[in-house]
C-alpha cells in the first residue's frame, strides 16, 4: 500500500484554493449579502466639523418620514451608559457624542429605517446645530501650552497621550559623542488608509426570546470582540455570537470596533429587529481608523569606514482624537523598537510621544505588524543616508553591518531576540538576480547622458506572530491562538481555528498543515473559522500572526491526534505502540514496511474497534502560546526611471527575495508577496491622507485617494531563501505583510539614488510626480 504524497497535498505544495469555488461563482457571503427576515437598515449622520460643540439635535423631520423607525443620539446611548466605549489601548472613544464632536465625519446620530434609501433620506433630515471650535490639526502645535484641548474629558489637561521609549539612552548618547560620523534625517510617514475594497459593516440581530445577540460583522478578531462586548454591555458572553463571514479584505482596518457596530447592536436590542449597517466608501475613507502618521527624527552614528554603531530616534505620533490604535496593550508604539533592523548596533534609543489631534483615530495597521513599517522605513533610509554621506555603495554598507548568520539567536540593541536569519544570502541572491553590478554601470552611463535612473535597496527584518503571552495581550487577553480538529470515522476531518481569513487562503493552507501531519488528503479536510459559537477562542488574524500562532496550534493539535492514533495503530497491527513508527504518512511496524495502517484505517477503528485503554474518537484541541515572535526578512531591489518631463517615477524592475521560513503553499505565499508589494508601492508613490487647517479631509474618495491600478503596478519578480524558525513547530514565519513593510524604502531609496548627484539626500513619501518635478525644476534638469 503506497501513499500518494500528491493526493495528500501537504506542506510545500501549491494546492489550488478551496475557497475559490464559491468566490468564482459569486457565491461568497460578504456582510452586505446577509438578508435576515424583518431586517431594517441603519445610516449615520456625520459631523461636517473637525471640532465643534453640539448645541442641539432635532430629529423631528426625520422621524416624520414614512419608514423611519428611530433616530439614535448620544443622549440616548448615554442613558444606557453606552455613549463611550473602551478602545484597545485603554483609552475610551465616543460611540455617539453627547455634546461635542472631535473630528470631521465623526458619527453624530443614527437613523433606523425600513429601507436603505429611506435611512439615507432620514440622515439628510436630522438637523444638528453646531458651534465650531478651533481645531487642533498640527501635532507639534498640539503640544504647545496654549493649544486647545482635544480631550477635555481627561484628567490630564494637555494633548499629550503617552511617552514610550526603548533601548539605552546613556550608552547611545555616549557613542554619538565619539562617533566619526553622524547622519541625521527627519522623516514623515504620512497618514494612510487600508481601503479594503469591501467597506465595514454588520448585521446585528437580537433574539428577544433567547436573549441572544448575534452580530455578523466585518471583523478580523471575532472572539476578542465578543469578550469586549460582554464586558461593556453586561450581556453574558454565551448570549453573544460574533460571526465574521467572508471578508473583502482586512489589512488591519477591520480590527477596531467602530461606533457603527455598537450603534447597530443597540438598535437591534431596542427594536427587536435585525439591523444592517454598511458604510459607503467615503464614510470608510473619512472616519475609520488610519495607519502611520509618524513624524520621525533619526540619527545614525558610524565609523568612517561605514560601520554602524548607534541609532537615536525621536518620534511624534499623531493618534487623532482617540487612542484607538490596534496594538498589544503593553506596546503603545507597537513593535517600533524593531527599528535597529537587520544590523548589528552597539546601542540604540528610540522614543515616541503620542498626541491627540482633531482627526479620526490613527494607529491601526496598514498591512503591517504593529508599527514595523515605520521602523523599517527609518532604518533603511538611514543606512542609505549614511552610504551617501560616506560615498559608499549602499549594498556594501549593508553587507558590512548585517547581523552575521552565525549570530542567531541574536539579541538586538532594543531587546528583541531574533530567531533566525541569513541576511547576506538574501541580499546576494537579489543582487545576482537583478544584476546589481550591471545596473550600476548602466546608471553611470545614463547619468552621463542626463537620464535619471535609480537603484534602491531594502534589507528589512520584520517581527510578527504575537504572543508570547507573557509579553503580549489585548485588553488583558493573552495573545495565544488555537485549533480544534475532529477526525470523522471515514477518515475526513473538520478543523476549526481561532484566527479567520480575509483572503489569505486559510481554508486551504490550514488543511494542508493537517494533511501533512495526519496523512489525510487535503480534499477531505474542511476548515472553519470566524464563528465564535463554534471556533475555539483565538485572538484573530492581523500582524501576520495566523501561521506563527494558529498554524502552530494546528500542527500541535494534529500531533496530539497522531499520538493517540499510534496507540490504535499498535492495536490494529497487533504490536506494542512502541513498535510502530510514522513513515510516509502512515504507521508501520518498525522495520517492516509491508505491515502498516493509514490514518483512515485508524480513524475508523477509533469509532469501531479501539483498544480497551483508549477513549473513543479521534480529536484534539491546542491553545498555542508561541515561545517567541518570528522574524521574517527579505532583500528587495528596485530600479526606477524618472521622467524629466513629468517627474513621474516608473518602477522598471523590482526583485523581492523573501524569507518566511518553511512554506505551506508557495502559490499563496507568492500571491501574498505580490499584494504586499503593491500595498508597499502605494504609500511610497501615491497614497496619503491630508487635512486642511480646519481639519477637512482632502481625500474622501478614490478619485483623490489613489489606489494603484494594474497600470502603475509593475511585474513583481519574487524569489526566496528559506531559513526556518527554530521555535515554530514546522519552521514557518509569517509572510502576509513582509512586502508592505519592505517595499517602501526600496522605492524611496531608488528615487533618492536617481537624484543623488543633484544633492538630493531625502524625499518623504508619497513621492508624487509634482514633488519630483519641483526638484528637477529647481536643479534645472526638468524637461518641457
Amino acid at each position: 500500500m503506497s501513499t500518494d504524497a500528491a493526493a495528500i497535498g501537504g506542506m510545500g505544495r501549491s494546492i489550488k484554493r478551496k475557497e475559490d469555488a464559491r468566490f468564482l461563482r459569486g457565491k461568497g457571503r460578504y456582510i452586505d449579502d446577509f438578508k435576515l427576515p424583518g431586517m431594517v437598515y441603519m445610516d449615520i449622520v456625520r459631523s461636517p466639523y473637525a471640532h465643534a460643540t453640539i448645541k442641539s439635535i432635532d430629529a423631528t423631520k426625520a422621524l416624520a418620514l414614512p419608514g423611519v423607525l428611530a433616530v439614535i443620539t448620544g443622549k440616548d446611548l448615554d442613558a444606557a451608559g453606552l455613549a463611550w466605549m473602551p478602545t484597545l489601548m485603554s483609552d475610551k472613544q465616543m460611540v455617539l457624542p453627547v455634546d461635542r464632536v472631535v473630528y470631521q465625519a465623526q458619527e453624530v446620530a443614527a437613523v433606523i429605517a425600513t429601507e436603505r434609501y429611506i435611512a439615507a433620506d432620514g440622515v439628510a433630515l436630522v438637523e444638528v446645530d453646531y458651534e465650531p471650535l478651533p481645531p487642533v490639526i498640527d501635532p507639534f502645535k498640539a503640544l504647545e501650552p496654549d493649544s486647545p484641548l482635544v480631550r477635555p474629558d481627561r484628567d490630564q489637561k494637555t494633548n499629550h497621550i503617552w511617552h514610550w521609549e526603548a533601548g539605552d539612552a546613556a550608552r547611545t548618547d555616549q557613542i554619538f559623542q565619539s562617533a566619526d560620523v553622524v547622519v541625521k534625517q527627519d522623516l514623515y510617514i504620512p497618514r494612510i488608509h487600508v481601503c479594503s475594497i469591501e467597506t465595514c459593516g454588520c448585521v446585528a440581530s437580537f433574539d428577544k426570546v433567547e436573549g441572544k445577540l448575534t452580530i455578523y460583522m466585518t471583523t478580523q478578531a471575532p472572539h476578542a470582540i465578543r469578550t469586549v462586548y460582554s464586558l461593556v454591555t453586561g450581556i453574558p458572553e454565551h448570549k453573544i455570537r460574533i460571526v465574521s463571514p467572508d471578508i473583502g479584505g482586512g489589512f488591519g482596518g477591520k480590527v477596531p470596533v467602530y461606533p457603527g457596530y455598537v450603534i447597530a447592536s443597540v438598535a437591534s436590542i431596542t427594536t427587536g429587529l435585525p439591523v444592517k449597517w454598511i458604510e459607503d466608501r467615503s464614510e470608510n475613507l473619512q472616519a475609520d481608523s488610519f495607519a502611520r502618521d509618524y513624524h520621525i527624527s533619526a540619527e545614525l552614528a558610524a565609523k568612517s569606514d561605514g560601520t554602524m554603531q548607534a541609532l537615536r530616534v525621536k518620534t511624534l505620533a499623531d493618534h487623532g482624537a482617540f487612542d484607538a490604535a490596534a496594538n498589544p496593550s503593553k506596546f503603545p508604539a507597537g513593535l517600533y523598537s524593531i527599528i535597529t533592523g537587520s544590523y548589528t548596533l552597539e546601542a540604540a534609543h528610540v522614543e515616541v510621544d503620542g498626541v491627540y489631534t482633531n482627526k479620526p483615530p490613527g494607529g491601526v495597521a496598514y498591512r503591517c505588524s504593529f508599527r514595523v513599517t515605520e521602523a523599517v522605513h527609518t532604518i533603511e533610509r538611514m543606512v542609505d543616508t549614511l552610504a551617501q554621506k560616506l560615498q559608499l555603495d549602499p549594498a556594501d554598507v549593508r553587507m558590512k553591518n548585517f547581523i552575521p548568520p552565525d549570530a542567531f539567536p541574536y539579541k538586538s540593541a532594543t531587546g528583541w531576540e531574533y530567531d533566525s536569519g541569513n541576511y547576506p544570502a538574501a541580499l546576494q541572491k537579489a543582487m545576482d538576480k537583478i544584476d546589481y553590478a550591471g545596473l550600476r554601470r548602466e546608471q553611470a552611463e545614463k547619468r552621463a547622458r542626463g537620464e535619471l535612473m535609480g537603484i534602491g535597496i531594502s534589507t528589512f527584518t520584520e517581527i510578527v506572530g504575537a504572543g508570547p503571552s507573557h509579553t503580549f495581550d489585548i485588553l488583558g487577553i493573552k495573545m495565544f491562538d488555537s485549533c480544534e480538529i475532529r477526525v470523522h470515522p471515514t477518515g475526513s476531518a473538520i478543523v476549526r481555528i481561532g484566527v479567520q481569513t480575509q483572503g489569505q487562503g486559510h481554508e486551504t493552507t490550514f488543511a494542508q498543515i493537517v494533511a501533512e501531519e495526519l496523512g489525510l488528503p487535503v480534499d477531505n479536510i474542511t476548515v472553519e473559522h470566524g464563528d465564535t459559537d463554534t471556533a475555539p477562542y483565538g485572538l484573530g488574524t492581523y500582524a501576520s500572526r495566523s501561521t506563527p500562532t494558529a498554524g502552530a496550534a494546528t500542527a500541535v493539535a494534529s500531533r496530539k491526534i497522531r499520538e493517540k492514533a499510534k496507540k490504535i495503530a499498535g492495536h490494529l497491527l497487533e504490536v506494542s505502540p512502541d513498535d510502530v513508527e510514522w513513515v510516509d504518512y502512515k504507521f508501520q511496524v518498525k522495520g517492516v514496511p509491508g505491515r502498516s495502517v493509514t490514518m483512515k484505517d485508524i480513524a475508523f477503528a477509533a469509532y469501531t474497534n479501539f483498544p480497551q485503554d483508549v477513549e473513543a474518537g479521534l480529536e484534539a484541541v491546542d491553545y498555542y502560546d508561541p515561545p517567541n515572535l518570528t522574524f521574517p526578512f527579505g532583500a528587495y531591489i528596485c530600479v526606477v526611471d524618472i521622467d524629466r518631463g513629468t517627474g513621474a517615477v516608473k518602477i522598471r524592475r523590482f526583485v523581492a527575495v523573501d524569507d518566511c521560513g518553511n512554506i505551506i503553499n508557495p502559490m499563496i505565499v507568492d500571491g501574498q508577496i505580490h499584494g504586499g508589494l503593491t500595498m508597499g508601492m502605494a504609500p511610497a508613490l501615491f497614497e496619503a491622507i491630508t487635512y486642511d487647517e480646519d481639519g477637512n479631509i482632502q481625500q474622501s474618495n478614490f478619485m483623490d485617494y489613489l489606489l494603484p491600478t494594474a497600470m502603475e503596478t509593475p511585474v513583481w519578480e519574487t524569489d526566496k531563501t528559506v531559513t526556518p524558525s527554530p521555535h515554530h513547530p514546522f519552521g514557518a514565519k509569517g509572510v502576509g505583510e513582509s512586502a508592505t513593510v519592505g517595499a517602501p524604502p526600496a522605492i524611496a531609496n531608488a528615487v533618492v539614488d536617481a537624484l543623488s548627484h543633484l544633492g538630493v539626500t531625502h524625499l518623504d513619501i508619497p513621492i508624487t510626480p509634482w514633488k519630483v518635478y519641483a526638484i528637477l525644476e529647481a536643479h534645472g534638469v526638468a524637461e518641457g
Binding site: R25, G248, H674, G675, N701, A710
Partner: protein, 174 residues
C-alpha cells in the same frame, strides 16, 4: 414614484415596480437577489460592481435600474454554464488570481467583454483593460496571468471545439 421595469439578468427576466432612483447594482443584488455583484466605492472608481449591459461592461453603481429597462444584463452568476466553469473562472482559479474575492466578479466581467474583442491580448493591453477595476489583494500579476490563461483556453476551444455533451458525459462518468 415608481416605474415598472423588466430587466433580464443572465437570461432570466426580472419584473418589478421600482423607485426611479434605485441603482442598478441594488436591483441586481436586492431585487434579483444576485449578490455576486459587489459594491466597493459607490463612485464608479473601483469596478467591483461591473456587469455587462447588452454585452458592454458597466459599473452598475452608477446606472439607475430604470436605465437598464429592457436590457440584457450578465453577472458573475451567469458565467458557469451547464456545470462547467467559464474559461475566465478557470483562469482565476488556476493562476491564483483572487484572494479575498471581493473584486473578482467585476474583474472577471470586465475581462470577459475584453477577451471577446481581444482574443490574443498582450499583458499591457490586459492591464489597460482592467485599470478601472481595483484589487487590493493580488497586486494584479496573477490577474493578468489568469486573463491570459482564459484567452488561451478560449482560443484553443475555438480551434478545436469539443462537443459539449461528450464533455458532460465524460465528467458524469468520473
Amino acid at each position: 414614484m415608481t416605474q415598472h421595469v423588466t430587466i433580464t439578468i443572465n437570461g432570466q427576466p426580472f419584473e418589478a415596480d421600482i423607485e426611479s432612483r434605485l441603482l442598478l447594482v441594488h436591483f441586481i443584488r436586492e431585487v434579483a437577489n444576485l449578490t455576486g455583484t459587489h459594491i466597493g466605492c459607490d463612485t464608479t472608481s473601483c469596478g467591483a460592481c461591473t456587469v455587462l449591459v447588452n454585452g458592454t461592461p458597466a459599473k452598475s453603481c452608477t446606472l439607475f435600474a430604470v436605465q437598464a429597462d429592457g436590457a440584457e444584463i450578465s453577472t458573475v452568476e451567469g458565467l458557469e454554464q451547464g456545470g462547467k466553469l467559464h474559461p475566465i473562472q478557470e483562469g482565476f482559479f488556476e493562476e491564483h488570481g483572487l484572494q479575498c474575492g471581493f473584486c473578482t466578479p467585476g474583474m472577471m466581467m470586465t475581462s470577459v467583454a475584453f477577451l471577446k474583442d481581444h482574443p490574443n491580448p498582450t499583458d499591457e493591453e490586459i492591464r489597460r483593460a482592467i485599470s478601472g477595476n481595483l484589487c487590493r489583494c493580488t497586486g494584479y500579476v496573477n490577474i493578468v496571468k489568469s486573463i491570459q490563461y482564459a484567452a488561451k483556453k478560449m482560443r484553443d476551444d475555438q480551434a478545436a471545439p469539443t462537443p459539449a455533451p461528450a464533455v458532460t458525459e465524460a465528467e458524469a462518468v468520473r
